[in-house]
Amino acid sequence: MPLDKDRLLFAYRRILEIRYLEASLSDLLKRGEIPDLYPCSGQEAVAVGVCLALRPDDQITSMYRCLGHVIAKGAEPWRVAAEFFGRRDGYCKGKGGAKHVCSFADGIYGATSIVAAGIPHAAGVALGNQYLNTGQVVACFFGDGAANQGTFHEGLNLASVWKLPVVFVCENNLYALATPIEETTAVKDIADRAASYNMPGVIVDGMDVEAVYDAVTEAVSRARAGGGPSLLECKTYRFGGHFAAEFALKIHYREDSEMDQWRKRDPILLLGAKLEKEFGFTEEAAQALRNEVQQKTEEAIARARSSPAPLPEEALQDLYADSYANLPEQEIF
């Protein structure tokens, strides 16, 4: 079922929100105001397409390249930005930071920075859904490089054996840091690995938000109906560095020509063109939307920046839910 105009416009707005927020954070990083950022621009259609296909009470698990995922799932941009700044209003109170933004209240069940470590977490959240019989489904984001980790294998096998309501979303951006996937991965398409777990494996155009939405919708309804997990491989590309500070490392692993090809398939261009063609979405309307999102982004950044910084000694809080007088026991200097 194709997305209607409103939903496509919503997707377009979300993608812009992510793109602009990242651009602002990237500037702040260059100015030394925030210390860390893993760019996702180019990949936004995956995050947005996935979350469009979820119910609000469904969950996702994210990873260090979390910005797109969390905005797409409904986290507030200013609180996301506040986490990048390390402020108290950040979702993790400044403890998690750039690589670990998540909001359990919004169904974002963690963002972890050990490659593939979140995959079994997603299976476990789905186990909880199944046990409590809530009908919720989990979408689990990870990269192409993650598909060579043992936890990928173990997590997918477990999810299949237990028929868990989870959709595994591999964002294949062709590189794990500076190493091209074909140098490290025995198969061309990660989706082929689904056969090892007796689940559907689908290759999806990750630059096309509607294609992502369609594939996820099918996988979600299967999962919700008790049919178990699926593996979706979204072919995509990251326009930025592996991390924002990559340029400082002076390493070269991608050709400009490759980047140029992918830039032509920028999800913003593709979706803009579709909106124009199918719904007469004009350049003026687009410009107005861009302005609005840009303005809101700036407001979010300003609000984040004015959030108070944590006190140094707040570092000692939040470790245990049930504390003991002598825990942690240590001399504080």
Binding site: G94, G110, I114, G124, E154, D318, L319, Y320, N326
Partner: protein
């Protein structure tokens, strides 16, 4: 009260908590068959929905336990042996222990990782570890080392109710002891040690089955005129320093015995805390009776040579008294 063995005490603790709270589930390899006794009979009592057999995928199912806990369940993960914890190390130490903190307190992870530690005997290097110091060095976990049937029942029940991840290391060579009738609630708070035997010359700090070894050493040495006070902190994290310092105030001499390896082990930590806070109480150098710093060999006589035991405690105690 009735005498039950250590394994049965673990089993009862889990069963009672499963009755008390239906969000408690059991996860692990061969837990339905209940192969080594810890989970025997639970399948019949609670059904396959709550007793989950897993593939041999320790990272996978420990990670799944984390996700399930995020979603509100309270998994008890049976890891079987301490030596298998390494396979899931990232999930336990870098994920489970840290996620609450890293997410700014947004989520609790009430998970128990349960294992039998220490050499089952003749199991050689890869099946005999007692790696609790590694988890004590990883903030975010609580580390429980029970020495009797009573203690393991009460501490394991507490662990299941605790809202944080708890590592429970059991050793089935620990003392069989009496526990209250089933139904009577037995819960032992963390961080509260117990003096298992009073004495005046040396404070022997011991965990797990080494409490038993310490007690027999104390009996033997009494005949030689050396009086040992055996102190069992019961949990390594949190650690009851007060009970250790109070004992040292009486004895002035410290011997720590622990079944982990020596370098950066549990005994090292206890000695270090005493050297910080109880240095004035000491009237002699301290002694550590631990595993030697080699892996566990297969052949029994070599294995015994490496492990701490009653005889080594006695020898160390005599040296401490200068006799």
């Amino acid at each position: 009260m009735r005498d039950i063995n250590y394994l049965q005490a673990m089993n009862e603790a889990i069963a009672e908590e499963m009755i008390r709270d239906d969000r408690v589930i059991v996860i692990g390899e061969d837990v339905r068959a209940g192969v080594f006794g810890v989970t025997a009979g639970l399948l019949e009592k609670f059904g396959p929905r709550r007793i989950l057999d897993t593939p041999i995928s320790e990272s996978g199912f420990c990670g799944a336990a984390i996700g399930a806990a995020m979603r509100g369940l309270r998994p008890v993960v049976n890891m079987h042996l301490g030596s298998f914890l390494y396979v899931a190390m990232d999930q336990i130490v870098n994920e489970c222990a840290k996620l609450r903190y890293m997410f700014g307190g947004q989520v609790n992870l009430p998970i128990v990782f349960l294992c039998r530690s220490g050499p089952p005997g003749n199991n050689a290097a890869q099946h005999s570890d007692a790696p609790y110091p590694l988890f004590a060095n990883s903030p975010g976990l609580k580390v429980v080392l029970p020495s009797t049937s009573y203690d393991v029942k009460g501490l394991l029940k507490q662990a299941i109710r605790d809202n944080d991840p708890v590592m429970v290391f059991g050793n089935i060579r620990s003392r069989k002891s009496s526990v209250p009738e089933t139904g009577e609630d037995l819960v032992i708070p963390f961080g509260k040690g117990e003096v298992k035997r009073a004495g005046t010359d040396i404070t022997v700090v011991a965990f797990l089955h080494l409490v038993e070894e310490g007690l027999s050493a104390a009996e033997d040495l009494e005949r030689e005129g050396i009086s040992l006070e055996v102190v069992d902190p019961r949990t390594l994290v949190p650690l009851d320093m007060q009970i250790i310092l109070e004992s040292l105030a009486k004895t002035g001499r410290l011997l720590v015995t622990d079944d982990s390896h020596r370098t950066c082990g549990a005994a090292a930590e206890i000695v270090a805390r005493v050297a910080e806070k109880g240095w004035n109480l000491l009237k002699a150098p301290v002694k550590r009776v631990t595993r030697y710093d080699v892996p566990i060999p297969y052949y029994r006589a070599m294995e015994q040579f490496v492990l701490p035991n009653r005889d080594k405690i006695k020898q160390a105690a005599r040296k401490l008294m200068g006799v």
